[in-house]
């Protein structure tokens, strides 16, 4: 009956209602599949406790919110001039004022108590099973295993999402912007201490699933810790604005069983020995250039661009530049030592002689440049 009377007054109501229902149905079925509403699923004890604390605070806040605005909306409903409500003229009540000062203060103490416990736990980085130094570099992460099983392993972790995907010339992959060449590998159920620092500007190392975020500050060491509760791959991103490619330096952590970890450590150490290039070896221009293209794609392309045109004036072009077509020594020095106070970092610390020789050769023989090859030995000779 109510429906038919509504229909009588609003003849188009059924079609509008049906349309709205279809729209909402589609929207919400889509939303339910695609949307995240809450913190990422916790994969460590700390993260789980943060979830609980957040939920607890949200419940309290929601209750207070509903209470306070219940009063407001009751006023809006009942005490309106259009209904002829006469305003009462009270404007003070000390008891009420005292109550709504003291009660919120008590609620705050109720919140502060569990929060304090968790702050103290979060700060307790003692007795770690494994210590890893994380260095933020524009725009990649360097990992050095400095204590515990795997000590001595170090590598650099760089975004592998191709520029074609970022620029929309290729379909985006499942882990778009959250994939790297070398993942940080740690064992499950072990206390991992992270010591963060940076080479240039401030970055922040963040893995939401572990409830860990630590600013990486150049010139200082700051630590935090996590204990992954399950195996799997966990992804995060740099959380502190660190320049142009801030959005393109993900953190990827692979948590494995203890056995797999020991195996990984063995493989990695062997690979590091096997991979080490002999800097005395002479390579052909073609080989150097081919290898250099990969190094360029991982380290240089964001600023100097695939076209070699750069983004002047901040990021200078290499195509036709004085350095990339002039004396080899100057070019090698620039790549080895960087340029102070710019995003051009000292790659001497990150790359091996062969890689540097390769990328310099690539730069000197691509686009319009034809300036010949640079051999690893020449790079080694200019290291200080």
């Amino acid at each position: 009956m109510p429906i038919s009377s509504a229909t009588a007054r609003f003849p188009r109501a059924p079609s509008i209602a049906a349309g709205a229902a279809v729209f909402l149905g589609l929207t919400f079925s889509g939303l339910a599949l695609a949307l995240e509403w809450n913190l990422q699923p916790a994969a460590s004890g700390l993260a789980a406790e943060i979830h609980d604390l957040h939920e607890y605070v949200m419940i309290l806040c929601t209750a207070i919110f509903v209470g306070v605005f219940g009063f407001m909306f009751w006023s809006v409903y009942a005490h309106r001039k259009s209904k002829g409500h006469q305003a009462e003229q009270f404007h003070e009540n000390t008891t009420v004022e005292m109550l709504w000062t003291v009660i919120p203060a008590i609620i705050l103490v109720i919140i502060a108590w569990p929060a304090t416990r968790l702050v103290v736990a979060q700060k307790d980085t003692a007795a770690a099973d494994l210590t890893i130094k994380v260095t933020g570099i524009q725009w990649k992460w360097a990992y050095d295993y400095i204590d515990g099983e795997g000590e001595g392993i170090s590598f650099i972790s760089t975004l592998t999402t191709p520029r074609e995907q970022i620029e929309g010339r290729q379909a985006k992959g499942e882990h778009y912007l959250l994939e790297v060449d070398n993942e940080l590998v740690v064992p499950v159920n072990r206390k991992i201490r992270i010591i963060a620092t940076a080479a240039d500007v401030i970055h922040a190392w963040w893995v939401p699933a572990f409830g860990v975020k630590q600013d990486a500050i150049p010139g200082f060491l700051r630590d935090t810790w996590f204990r992954a509760a399950k195996t799997g791959v966990f992804r995060g991103q740099c959380a502190e604005l660190c320049g142009k490619e801030h959005g393109f330096m993900p953190v990827v952590v692979r948590v494995v069983s203890q056995e797999d970890y020991s195996k990984w450590v063995g493989d990695k150490k062997q690979a590091l020995v096997g991979q080490a290039d002999d800097p005395g070896k002479k390579l052909s221009l073609e080989d150097l250039k081919a290898r250099g293209e990969k190094v360029y794609a991982a380290n240089c392309v964001a600023c100097h661009q695939a076209s070699g045109k750069g983004m002047p004036p901040v990021f200078p072009p290499l195509d036709g530049s004085k350095i990339a077509t002039g004396a080899k020594a100057r070019h090698i020095d620039m790549v080895l030592n960087g340029k102070p106070n710019t995003a051009m970092v000292a790659f001497g610390k990150q790359l091996a002689d062969t890689e540097i020789a390769a990328v310099i050769t690539y730069e000197r023989n691509s686009w319009g440049n034809r300036a010949g090859e640079v051999q690893p030995g020449e790079v080694r000779a200019r290291r200080k």
Binding site: S75, H79, N93, E174, I217, P313
Partner: protein, 533 residues
């Protein structure tokens, strides 16, 4: 009573034209020392900057509509977020409330004008030059700085010449704020009409008195921080460089010692406007006037001891984290008192819902929401998850937009009749409110979810899982931008062809500008002080 007021008003109407200092046209505005002219300049300037910053926001949201890089490169994206923040805070919101202060304080305390009339002219005219410098930085080699409005070291050292333009612009903006603050304090303390004791001042005047002291305390600190950045960049100092014995985190301490009170520089005058509007449309005196004054002062004082809650993830000692967590939670108490007092003012009133009241209620509802997310962020372990995510972006836009901007809209609709002598179009005003409310929440409510799910702020591109919320948010931003064109139309229409306004269009309003001055207010508010009982 009304007879007295009218003769007062006629006296002014008679010689209205003689008071522009003899100049007409553009020179009137350049040479003016009149608080109303300067207030008008501040408000129009603020509207212009609101447009400039708003366009930047729309470009940012267009880029973020879908994953991948579409319209701007990452470098320019960072420049936009930086300039959007600086322009909205220093160019739009702060000047808007200084505009309110200029118009309202002399009228509300029974004074003829501001205490330092020429200084007042200068503190306004610094602004266009400062903002020009700021915007010109886009044209410098390397463009505007892409460091975020917080300008953290040592990223600032990598920037081009645009960074120096921005630093000088901040110096000028700070100078303007300090001069304005000195003027406001002097005016309030010295030019009150006889009988207008401090505890009889309208709350808007109180909030501005406290805000002005905050400005005096913190603007020099910001000037220091950016000057140290300047010398680090050019003169070989290493304040923020560990290699020379400095510390990048030192910058953050200095910046946020300015930055947190700055939040209240923006919020307190907004509280003041709301405290005038809600009683007027509830037809009932403000509940707990004295406790409102004390709560405002308490918020101002606490704001000086909470700065490091912006820095929980820098690696503070556990005692530091706990201290700043407790101090920050404490802000909730006086803020809560204010919200309760506003709701109690409405309780058993006789409410009507004209546009100013709608914006005031929108403020109350959403500013409180922003306050609650602030409480969530004050809790160290939770903040460590949410620091530098879109949750923070959502939080401070609830405070800055739903807080400060909604209060500014409430104030403009409330006082436009007094300022212009004409009524705005009520229905259009209400439409403006509802559009702004809906689009605002569309932009920012969903950003809470993005932040919780782990989307960092200040990124031009993002993983695929964040796409849908970003699309909703961007659509909201486009709508919000269009809705503000309606606001401009309403204001212009009101000035040019609004119906004449009575002396007191809001029957519940009770401060001096409504009770003792005709509409539109005379050029010099009170040449002889009003007599207060």
């Amino acid at each position: 009573m009304s007879a007295v007021v009218d003769s007062h008003g006629h006296g002014h109407a008679h010689d209205y034209g003689d008071h522009h200092g003899g100049y007409g046209g553009i020179m009137r505005w350049i040479t003016t020392t009149n608080h109303k002219d300067i207030g008008t300049l501040y408000l129009w300037f603020s509207l212009l900057m609101f447009g400039v910053g708003g366009i930047m926001a729309v470009v940012i949201r267009a880029e973020l509509f879908s994953p991948g890089l579409q319209f701007v490169d990452p470098d320019f994206f960072n420049q936009l977020t930086t300039m959007h923040g600086l322009i909205m805070i220093f160019g739009a919101i702060m000047p808007a409330f200084v505009g309110f202060a200029n118009w309202q304080i002399p009228m509300m305390i029974g004074a003829p004008d501001m205490a330092f009339a020429r200084l007042n002219n200068w503190s306004f005219w610094l602004l266009p030059f400062a903002s020009t410098l700021l915007v010109l930085s886009f044209l410098m080699p390397g463009g505007a700085p892409g460091v975020g409005w917080t300008m953290y070291a040592p990223l600032t050292v990598q920037m081009g010449m645009g960074m120096d333009f921005t630093i000088f612009a901040v110096h000028l903006l700070g100078m303007s704020s300090i001069l304005g603050a000195i003027n406001i304090i002097t005016t309030i303390l010295n030019l009150r009409a006889p009988g207008m004791t401090l505890l009889r001042m309208p709350l808007f005047v109180w909030t501005w008195l406290i805000t002005a002291y905050l400005l005096l305390a913190v603007m020099p600190v910001l000037a220091g921080a950016v000057t140290m950045t300047l010398t680090d960049r050019h003169f070989g100092t290493t304040f923020f460089n560990a290699a020379g014995g400095g510390d990048p985190v030192l910058y953050q301490h200095i910046f946020w010692f300015f930055g947190h009170p700055e939040v209240y520089v923006v919020a307190l005058p907004a509280f003041g406007v709301i405290s005038q509007v809600i009683p007027a449309f509830s037809r009932k005196p403000l509940f707990g006037y004295a406790s409102m004054v004390y709560a405002t002062a308490a918020i101002a004082i606490i704001s000086f001891i909470v700065w490091a809650h912006h820095m929980y993830t820098t690696g503070m000692p556990v005692t530091g984290q706990l201290f700043f967590m407790y101090a920050t939670m404490l802000v909730a108490v006086p803020t809560g008192v204010k919200v309760f007092n506003w709701v109690a003012t409405m309780w058993k009133g006789s409410l009507s819902f004209e546009t100013p009241m709608l914006f005031a209620m929108g403020f109350l509802f959403m500013f409180t929401l922003g306050g609650f997310t602030g409480l969530v962020l004050s809790i160290v372990p939770v903040d460590i998850q949410l620091q530098d995510t879109y949750y923070v972006v959502a939080h401070f836009h609830y405070v800055m937009v739903a807080g400060a901007l909604f209060a500014a809209f409430a104030g403009i609709y409330f006082w436009l009749p007094k300022w212009t002598g004409r009524m705005y179009h009520e229905t259009l005003g209400k439409i403006h409110f509802w559009l702004t409310l809906v689009f605002f929440n569309m932009i920012f409510f969903v950003q809470h979810f993005l932040g919780l799910a782990g989307m960092p702020r200040r990124i031009p591109d993002y993983p695929l899982m964040f796409e849908t919320w970003n699309q909703i948010s961007s659509l909201g931003a486009f709508g919000m931008g269009l809705a503000q064109l309606l606001f401009v139309y309403i204001v212009v229409k009101c000035i040019r062809s609004g119906a004449p306004a009575p002396q007191k269009p809001w029957d519940g309003a009770d401060s001096l500008e409504w009770t003792h001055l005709p509409t539109p207010a005379p050029y010099h508010s009170f040449e002889t002080p009003p007599v207060l009982r």
